[in-house]
């Protein structure tokens, strides 16, 4: 192994980081390897992404809870930060659970891993097509159905959730499908 830690800017990974995950150097993450645990993580990630998407409705929730003044802002802000932080941690665990295969460059993977990664990207591409279609339909019919309001509930969280989904979908597919990672 060369001493220099090569950075793969396009994939957003480092050589040592990927090799460390591939070779089980981080044994403390072994609990993430079983398929059952990976599937639970994917399910939690989906719930988290839906929670982020529903962020557009948090102001309505806030009103319904009859919160006022400072408490309103604190609860809203803490909830928003917690949900987004939880999704980011979930994304990190998801990448670890699939040994970084979802994001690794070809030269660090063997032929089966490349095939598995490419297949997961193909399914992720299909899945994202449905997610973006749903987003477009919401954008198209949302205003007609009075789903959005100009202040607060403007649908911006839907876009944020879609961007989160876009970056995590290949690893989610990989974590769900593969028996051994």
């Amino acid at each position: 192994m060369s001493k220099k830690n090569k950075i793969y800017w396009f994939e957003g990974v480092t050589e040592k980081g990927v090799k460390s995950l591939l070779t089980d150097e981080n044994s403390k993450y072994g609990w993430l390897r079983p398929q059952r645990n990976r599937r639970i993580l994917v399910a939690m990630m989906v719930v988290g992404l839906i929670a982020v998407a529903m962020g557009s409705y948090w102001p309505t929730l806030k009103t319904n809870m009859n919160l006022s003044g400072g408490a309103e802002i604190v609860i809203y802000s803490v909830t928003a930060i917690f949900v987004i932080f939880a999704v980011l941690v979930g994304y990190l665990f998801l990448r670890i659970s699939v040994r970084g295969i979802g994001d690794a460059p070809n030269e660090l993977l063997d032929e089966r891993q490349i095939k598995v990664r490419d297949t997961s990207f193909r399914y992720a591409y299909y899945a994202m097509g449905y997610v973006v279609l749903g987003l477009l339909l919401l954008m198209l019919f949302g205003p007609e159905l009075k789903m959005f309001q100009p202040e607060g509930n403007d649908g911006s969280y839907l876009v944020i959730a879609t961007l989160f989904a876009f970056s995590s979908m290949p690893s989610m597919v990989l974590a769900w499908r593969e028996r051994d990672i």
Binding site: L22, L109, D110, E111, R112, Q113, Y123, Y126, V173, W176, R177, D180, I181
Partner: protein
């Protein structure tokens, strides 16, 4: 969605990797290191859940001091051969 996630059926490639590897006293990691693949790929090959490329088949055969035709086949090997 579940059917979308199912694997494509591939023509299986039968092999004697596990038998020969065990006879040589090699671990999966040892063979993986020799063949330049991840140890789980050896597991997939031994369970005949993955069909190797010609290059990988040759590398594995060379690592186990076997001919490709002795190690891989499109028909099941007879037991004890």
């Amino acid at each position: 969605m579940l059917s979308l996630m199912s694997r494509n059926p591939e023509e299986p490639v039968y092999n004697r990797i596990e038998e020969v590897r065990a006879a040589l006293g090699l671990s999966r990691q040892d063979l993986a290191d020799k063949a330049g693949v991840h140890y789980q790929t050896i597991g997939y090959l031994e369970r005949e859940e993955y069909s190797p490329s010609l290059v990988l088949a040759i590398r594995i055969a060379k690592s186990l001091n076997q001919e490709v035709s002795e190690l891989f086949s499109l028909t099941p090997f007879k037991k004890g051969k």
